[in-house]
């Protein structure tokens, strides 16, 4: 088999279990059959395996209850983060004046803005990682196909997020009865870079972090029972925090639900609770550092 066919067979075989993949690729190499035939054989096996997996209810539940809603929510938050930071980038890039650097207020504002932008992206990165981690954890056997599905959902989310904001804006205006106000940031988003390229760059960060989280969840053996329980708890809290931070979603649930929440002041309780949960959202950083330290210790022990 030449390099071209092998280049096709190898990624396709990634959709199989690690043992299956090992045995099948070994069989293909040993049999020395023509590349096209080997490719069709492996593709046939992948299709059969996927078909039997998708005949169960679990993959559909994970798709409908986890990947689709969280992927879309992540896209919305990603768009909000990119739009929010694009305004600052535009502001500094278009109004740069060296004379400003002599003003202490300028440095203070720049410092505050930088911290805000940094934390916003750190949070986005952590949320993306957690979503990937949860998807990978729930579907270890289907990690490869769900990786592809999550990427597709995030790509689709990137395209539909602006429509969602338009819809939400119209809905809120209708609900409040207030007239439309001119967009104060129209000048920023008139530039194609801030409207199209910048959000795409941010979405690449989201995809990378999500795939990293998925990889972390599927790599290595299963963690112990206590660690599993801790991971499940912090992941659930992080997702809860992520879901409640988007008030637009509650509008989407229905005006009655929204009104009910407002009347009972439940929303403010949720916001208070969220503030308590905020430090938890950075747990992936602690997890990754702990994992790296453990790995280094193990390597040192082997040497």
């Amino acid at each position: 088999m030449n390099g071209f066919w092998w280049w096709l067979v190898e990624p396709i075989s990634g959709f199989l279990d690690s043992d299956d993949r090992e045995a099948v690729l070994g069989d293909v190499l040993e049999s020395g059959e023509p590349g096209a035939r080997a490719f069709c054989g492996v593709l046939g096996l992948v299709v059969r395996r996927q078909r039997s997996l998708w005949l169960n209810w679990q993959p559909w539940t994970i798709l409908m209850a986890v990947i689709l809603p969280l992927g879309f929510l992540l896209s919305v938050i990603s768009r909000e983060t990119s739009d929010g930071s694009a305004v600052y980038v535009w502001m500094y890039a278009n109004n740069w004046d060296w004379a400003l650097t002599k003003n202490p207020g300028f440095w203070r504002l720049l410092g505050e803005t930088s911290i805000w932008v940094f934390l916003a992206y750190l949070t986005l990165g952590c949320w993306s990682w957690v979503v990937g981690f949860v998807v990978g954890w729930l579907s270890r056997r289907m990690a490869q196909i769900n990786r592809l599905v999550l990427c597709l959902v995030l790509l689709l989310g990137e395209l539909t997020a602006p429509r969602y904001f338009e819809f939400l804006d119209q809905y809120e205006r209708r609900a409040s009865g207030l007239p439309a106000l001119p967009d104060g940031n129209a000048a920023v988003f008139a530039v194609a870079f801030y409207r199209v390229v910048f959000p795409l760059m941010v979405q690449v960060l989201v995809v990378t972090a999500a795939l990293w989280g998925m990889r972390r969840a599927t790599a290595g053996g299963k963690p112990g029972r206590i660690l599993r329980a801790v991971l499940a708890a912090v992941a659930a809290l992080t997702l809860a925090e992520m879901v409640t931070q988007e008030p637009g979603l509650w509008f989407m649930v229905g005006p009655r639900v929204w009104a009910h929440y407002s009347q009972l002041a439940l929303w403010s309780s949720v916001l208070h609770l969220r503030r308590l949960l905020e430090p938890i959202e950075y747990w992936p950083i602690i997890f990754l550092i702990a994992h790296a330290i453990r790995k280094r210790k193990l390597r040192a022990a082997v040497v």
């Binding site: 299956d20 045995a23 046939g44």
Partner: protein, 109 residues
């Protein structure tokens, strides 16, 4: 009762003994039937046979001949031997008294 392809795999695995694994079984079946045996059909059927408890598979150590890849070794269980024996006995019973050569001559227009 097992199917025809399942029987072919069981028979090939029994013949190969300790050397029964994916590629070897495929080669054996292709040689015996003069027909192509796809990887997809083979591995799906191996899974089915394992679920039925007719075979047991294990991963071997990696070998250099296969680019350092491990083999999925196949061992036929006692139930597998029983199922193969039953299938073969059924084929023999249903074939008793039939001459395929004679039938071919008679059917030919």
């Amino acid at each position: 009762m097992i199917g025809e392809f399942e029987y072919l795999i069981l028979a090939a695995a029994v013949r190969l003994g300790d050397e029964a694994y994916g590629a070897a079984i495929r080669k054996e079946i292709e040689h015996a039937t003069n027909r192509r045996c796809s990887i997809g059909a083979l591995y799906t059927t191996l899974d089915r046979l394992e679920t039925k408890g007719l075979i047991k598979t294990t991963m071997s150590d990696p070998t250099p001949q296969r680019g350092g890849r491990a083999k999925r070794m196949v061992r036929v269980t006692a139930r597998g031997v029983g199922a193969g024996t039953e299938f073969y006995a059924s084929v023999k019973r249903v074939t008793r008294g039939i001459s395929w050569e004679a039938s071919r001559v008679r059917i030919r227009p």
